[in-house]
Amino acid sequence: MAYVMLGHLLNWPLHCETTATRRESRPSSTRLPQHHDLPTNIINTTKMKLSSLLLPAFLLAGPSLAEHTSNWAVLVCTSRFWFNYRHLANVLSIYRTVKRLGIPDSQIILMLPDDMACNPRNAFPGTVYSNADRAVDLYGDNIEVDYRGYEVTVENFIRLLTDRVGEEMPRSKRLLTDDRSNILVYMTGHGGNEFLKFQDAEEIGAWDLADAFEQMWEKRRYHEILFMIDTCQANTMYSKLYSPNIIATGSSELDQSSYSHHADNDIGVAVIDRYTYYNLEFLESEVKDTSSKKTVGDLFDSYTYEKIHSHAGVRYDLFKGGAEEARRRLVTDFFGNVQNVEVDSGKGEKNASFEEEMVRLSRTIAELHTRAEEQEAAERNATASAAKTGKKQQQPRKIQRVAKPLTDDNWWTKKIVGATALAGCAALWGLGSYLEGVV
C-alpha cells in the first residue's frame, strides 16, 4: 500500500511533463488521421516492459491492482445516412465529454461512419449539434476521427479491441492499452436482440463482443472496462459478456426501443437519443471536472424510466467485488483521465529500490539455501542411525522403486526361460498348421 502511495506522490512531475510535450506538438499535428506524439509512446512501451519485469512484485502487492494508470475511450457510431444524424451526434457528444475530462485524442478511438457536417442536407454546413438550442458545435475545430466511412466495420472494431492489426496500421488507429488501462467503450446505432448493426451491411453479435472482450482480458489489454451502449434492445448486447472487471450498461431491455430525445426542426432530424442525453446531462452537471467524486453508481442511479422511456440496464456481476465494488468506481475512472501512474520520477531512486528488492530477494534465497542444507544434513544423520538400529526405515525407499534395474544375476536361468518360450511358440504354430491341414 505504501508503495502505491509513493507512486502517487512521485508521479505528478512525469504526468505534467507528458502533457506539456503533447501541448507543444499539438499545432503541428494534422486533423485526420491523428498521430500519437512520440513521448507518450515511449512512456507507454517502457511502462509495459517495466510491468512485465515487476510482475512478481505486483502479485505480492495485491491491493495495488485496483488502480489504473491510463484511460482510453473507444467511441463507436455504427450507422450512416442523414436520418441517423442523432447517432453521430450521440457519439460526438460523448467524445466531447471525455475530452473535456482530460482524455487526450491520442487515447480516444473515434469511429464515425458518415460525415453529417458535410452532408448537403445539413442546413448548417460544417457543424453537428446534439441539441436544438445549437449552443455547442460538436464538430468544432478540434476533432480527430480515427475510423471513418466504410472503415467502420465489425472486423475493424474487433481487430481494434484485440489489437490484431497489421504492421502497417498507424498508431492512431490502435488501442494501445495494457493491463492497467481503464477503457470506456461506448456504442450507438441500430440494434436488435443480441446484435448491433454496423452500417447497412453487417452486424456484430453479443457473443462476438463477449469473445473480443475475453481476448482482451487474456492479452492483458485492460484493467477495467465500462461498456455503455445506446441502441434498441441494448441490454441484450452485454448479456453474453463473461470476462472479469467489466461494468456494462445499456439503454433498453429486450423488445424495448431506444428513443430519440428531440428533433431540431431546422436541421429536420432528431439530434440525440434519450439515454445519451441524460447521461450527458449527468456528466455536464455533476462531473464538472476531474476532481469530481461522483461514482458510477450515482450515474446509474440517475437513470429513470420517466426520463429515458425505456428500462436502462446495468451489469455488475463480472466485476471483482460485485455491485458494491463496481458502484464505488468514480465516473472519472472511465470518463476522465485521472491516472495512478506508479514508480518513476527519478531513475536513481527507481534503480535503488529495485536493487534493494533484488538484494532482499537474494538474501531470502541464501537463507532458503542454508535452511535446505541444514534439513538435508539432519536427514542424513537420521538414516545413518536407523541403519544401525533396525530395518524399518528402509521399507519406504523400496516401495518407491518402480522400475527394476537390469542385472546379470541368474544369466543362464533367464536364457533357458527365453528359449523355452520361443520353442513353445514354435510348437503352437506347428500344431496349428497341422490341425489346419487335417481339417
Partner: protein, 605 residues
C-alpha cells in the same frame, strides 16, 4: 398410400366429379366479388404508415411565407397578363422570369397526332442545381399551364415560380430541382419525361438540350382556384393503373394533414367520414380510374418511368392561402431531399380507401385471381368433358364393373375449334385499329355502326360455321374451352399488373363461363340477347349513359391515351375480352349434333 392413390384415381373417374366444376367456378366468381366488398372493413384494410425512415415528413419548419407573398403576387400579375396568349409567347415571358432567378432554362418541342387531332406545344423547364449536391439525382416540380379540364393554372404557375425563387435561397438541397412549365397536363409532360429518359420518338418529340440526374420524385401543382382553399386533393393514378409509392402519398398526407392542418382528399371524395360506404366509394372510384388506365394529371406520365409523382389540387372554401400550399410543397420537397435511394420501402400495389387506410396487393389480389380462375376451371372442365362420349354408358351396369373399365375417351377434333378461336382473336385487330386511327368526327357514327355489326356478325358467323362444317357438341365445348383458357390466362397475368382492369373485365365476361349451345331456339335467343347486353360496345354505351358522357369523347380520350401515353386498356378490351365474347356468341348460337340427328333420321328412313 397406394390404396389412397388408387381410390383418388377412381374418384377421378367418378362421373359425379364432373358435375362439380360449374358450381365451383360460380363459387369463385361469388367469393371474388364478395371479397372486394369486404376490403373496406377494418379487419381487412390497414392504416397507412411511413415505411421509409429517410423521409421524415413534417419534421422540418417551413419558412415559405412573409415577403414571398409579395413576390407571388407580382408573379401572379405577370401570369394573368399572359392568359390567352400563345404557347411561345407565354414561354418567352416565363423563361425571362426563371432565367432572372439564376436558373438554367431550356425548351422542348413536341407534336402528337391522335384521333385526327394534333397535340403540339413547347415545354419550358429549368434546372436549379443543388449547391452542395452531386447532380446525380433530381426532383421535379411541375406546373402545367392548363389542367386536365383545360382551366388555366392561374395560381399554380406563379406559385411554382415563387417556390423556385425561394428554393434557390436554400443551400441544403442534395438533389437538383427541375421546374417544368408545360403547356398542357397530359401530352406535354409525357413528351418531356419520354425525352428525359431518351425513350422518345424523335420524329415527334424533340430531345432535351440539358438534363440533370435520375429523377427521384415529382410533384405537380394544379391550383386553379382563386379563393382561399380548405383541403388538398391528391391525384395519384398513373398511366395504365400504375401507382406511385405509397410513401409519397403518406408523406403528403402527413405534411398537409398533420403539419399544416389542412384536409386531404382522394378520388374526388370531398367529404369523407371514414365509414364503410365512403371507404367503398373511394376504393371503387380508384379501381375504376385504375382500370381505365388513363392519365389523370401531369404526374401520370412520370409513374411508368418509376418516378413517384402526385398532383396536388387545392379545393373547397377555407382559410388556407397560396403560402400554405407552398409550405406543403416545401415540406414534401424537404422530405424527398432526405431520400438516399429511390422510394422502394412501401407499396406500389395498393387500393386506397381513405387518406389513412389502404389494402395491399396480398389482400386484394385473390379476388381478381378467383374471378380469373373461374375461366380456367371451366376450360379444364370442358376439355375433360369433350373427351368423354356424349351419351354415357347405361347407369344400371355401371356399379358392377366401374373400377375395372377404363374411362372411355373419344378422339377430339381440334382443327375447327382452334380455327374459330384463332379467327376471333385475329378479327380483334380490326376494332383496335379502327378506333385508334379514325378522326374524332367519325368516331361516334362509327361506334354505332360497329354496335350494329357487332350484333349481327356473330349470327352470320355462326350460320356460316353450322352450314359449312356442322360442328358437333364436342367441338363447341372445345371452342369454349380454348377461348376461356386464353381469357383466364390473360386475366390472371393482368391482375398482377392492373388489378382493377382484370377485375372489371373478369366480372363483365363472367357470363361467358355459363353459356352453352342449346337445341331449343328460345334458350339460344335468350342467351344471345344476354350476351349482347354484356358485349364490350354495349358496356361502353351503358357506362357513357350512366356517367352522362358522350361515347365519342370516351373513344377520343382512349385514342389519345393510346397514342400519347401508351395506355393498353384498349388492347385488353378488343384483343382479350372481345374475342372471348365472340367465341361465346358462336357457342350460344351453335346448333350441335345436327348431323347426328340427320344421320339418325336417315337410319330410321
Amino acid at each position: 398410400m397406394p390404396r389412397l392413390l388408387s381410390s383418388a384415381l377412381a374418384l377421378r373417374r367418378d362421373p359425379r366429379i364432373l358435375k362439380i366444376p360449374p358450381y365451383l367456378s360460380l363459387l369463385c366468381i361469388l367469393v371474388g366479388a364478395v371479397w372486394l366488398f369486404l376490403l373496406p372493413l377494418n379487419e381487412y384494410s390497414r392504416r397507412t404508415y411511413i415505411s421509409e425512415n429517410a423521409l421524415l415528413p413534417g419534421q422540418v419548419h417551413t419558412y415559405f411565407g412573409g415577403s414571398d407573398q409579395n413576390v407571388l403576387r407580382a408573379y401572379k400579375q405577370e401570369v394573368n397578363s399572359l392568359v390567352g396568349k400563345s404557347n411561345v409567347e407565354i414561354n418567352d415571358k416565363l423563361e425571362s422570369i426563371v432565367r432572372g432567378l439564376g436558373l438554367k432554362t431550356a425548351r422542348q418541342n413536341f407534336t402528337y397526332h391522335a384521333a385526327g387531332r394534333t397535340f403540339e406545344g413547347e415545354n419550358l423547364y429549368a434546372i436549379l442545381q443543388a449547391p452542395r449536391g452531386d447532380a446525380t439525382e433530381a426532383i421535379v416540380l411541375v406546373a402545367a399551364w392548363e389542367n386536365v379540364k383545360h382551366e388555366v393554372n392561374k395560381n399554380g404557375v406563379p406559385l411554382v415560380l415563387t417556390l423556385a425563387r425561394y428554393f434557390k435561397r436554400w443551400s441544403l438541397w442534395s438533389k437538383d430541382i427541375i421546374i417544368l412549365l408545360s403547356p398542357d397536363s397530359i401530352a406535354a409532360p409525357q413528351a418531356w419525361v419520354d425525352a428525359y429518359h431518351d425513350a422518345h420518338d424523335s420524329s415527334r418529340v424533340a430531345s432535351l438540350p440539358i438534363k440533370s440526374g435520375a429523377l427521384q420524385g415529382a410533384i405537380a401543382i394544379d391550383y386553379v382556384q382563386e379563393n382561399r382553399f380548405k383541403s388538398v386533393h391528391i391525384v395519384y393514378d398513373g398511366v395504365n393503373g400504375q401507382l406511385p409509392n405509397l410513401d409519397l402519398i403518406n408523406s403528403v398526407v402527413n405534411i398537409a394533414g398533420g403539419q399544416m392542418g389542412m384536409g386531404v382528399a382522394l378520388q374526388e371524395m370531398w367529404n369523407h367520414n371514414d365509414k364503410y360506404p365512403d371507404r367503398l366509394r373511394t376504393m371503387l372510384r380508384g379501381m375504376l380510374k385504375q382500370g381505365l388506365g388513363l392519365a389523370s394529371g401531369p404526374h401520370s406520365s412520370f409513374i411508368p418511368y418509376h418516378v413517384d409523382a402526385v398532383t396536388l389540387q387545392p379545393f373547397g372554401e377555407g382559410w388556407q392561402d397560396e403560402m400554405a400550399m407552398g409550405r406543403v410543397v416545401e415540406g414534401t420537397f424537404r422530405s424527398l431531399n432526405n431520400l438516399l435511394e429511390h422510394l422502394h420501402q412501401s407499396f406500389f400495389f395498393y387500393l386506397l380507401m381513405h387518406r389513412e387506410r389502404f389494402v395491399s396487393i396480398g389482400t386484394y389480389l385473390p379476388s381478381a385471381m378467383l374471378v380469373a380462375a373461374n375461366f380456367t376451371i371451366m376450360a379444364i372442365f370442358l376439355w375433360m368433358k369433350s373427351g368423354q362420349p356424349e351419351i354415357p354408358a347405361a347407369s344400371t351396369t355401371e356399379s358392377s364393373d366401374k373400377d375395372d373399365a377404363p374411362t372411355p375417351t373419344t378422339e377430339r377434333d381440334l382443327f375447327l375449334p382452334l380455327a374459330i378461336v384463332a379467327l376471333s382473336g385475329s378479327l380483334s385487330a380490326i376494332p383496335l385499329y379502327i378506333f385508334n386511327h379514325v378522326p374524332e368526327s367519325a368516331l361516334t357514327p362509327l361506334f354505332y355502326l360497329f354496335l350494329l355489326i357487332n350484333t349481327l356478325f356473330p349470327i352470320t358467323l355462326s350460320l356460316t360455321i353450322t352450314t359449312l362444317f356442322s360442328p358437333n357438341l364436342q367441338q363447341y365445348h372445345l371452342v369454349k374451352s380454348f377461348s376461356l383458357l386464353l381469357l383466364g390466362m390473360f386475366l390472371s397475368s393482368l391482375a398482377t399488373l392492373n388489378f382493377s382492369l382484370a377485375m372489371l373485365i373478369g366480372l363483365l365476361s363472367a357470363p361467358l363461363s355459363f353459356v352453352k349451345p342449346s337445341s331449343s331456339p328460345v334458350s339460344r335467343i335468350v342467351g344471345f340477347v344476354l350476351l349482347n347486353l354484356t358485349s364490350p360496345p354495349a358496356v361502353l354505351l351503358a357506362s357513357a349513359a350512366i356517367w352522362g358522357l358522350n361515347v365519342g369523347d370516351i373513344l377520343r380520350e382512349a385514342a389519345v391515351a393510346w397514342h400519347v401515353t401508351g395506355t393498353y386498356s384498349a388492347v385488353v378490351v378488343w384483343c382479350v375480352w372481345w374475342p372471348a365474347w365472340l367465341a361465346g356468341c358462336v357457342c350460344v348460337l351453335g346448333r350441335p349434333g345436327r348431323d347426328q340427328e340427320e344421320e339418325k333420321k336417315v337410319k330410321k328412313a
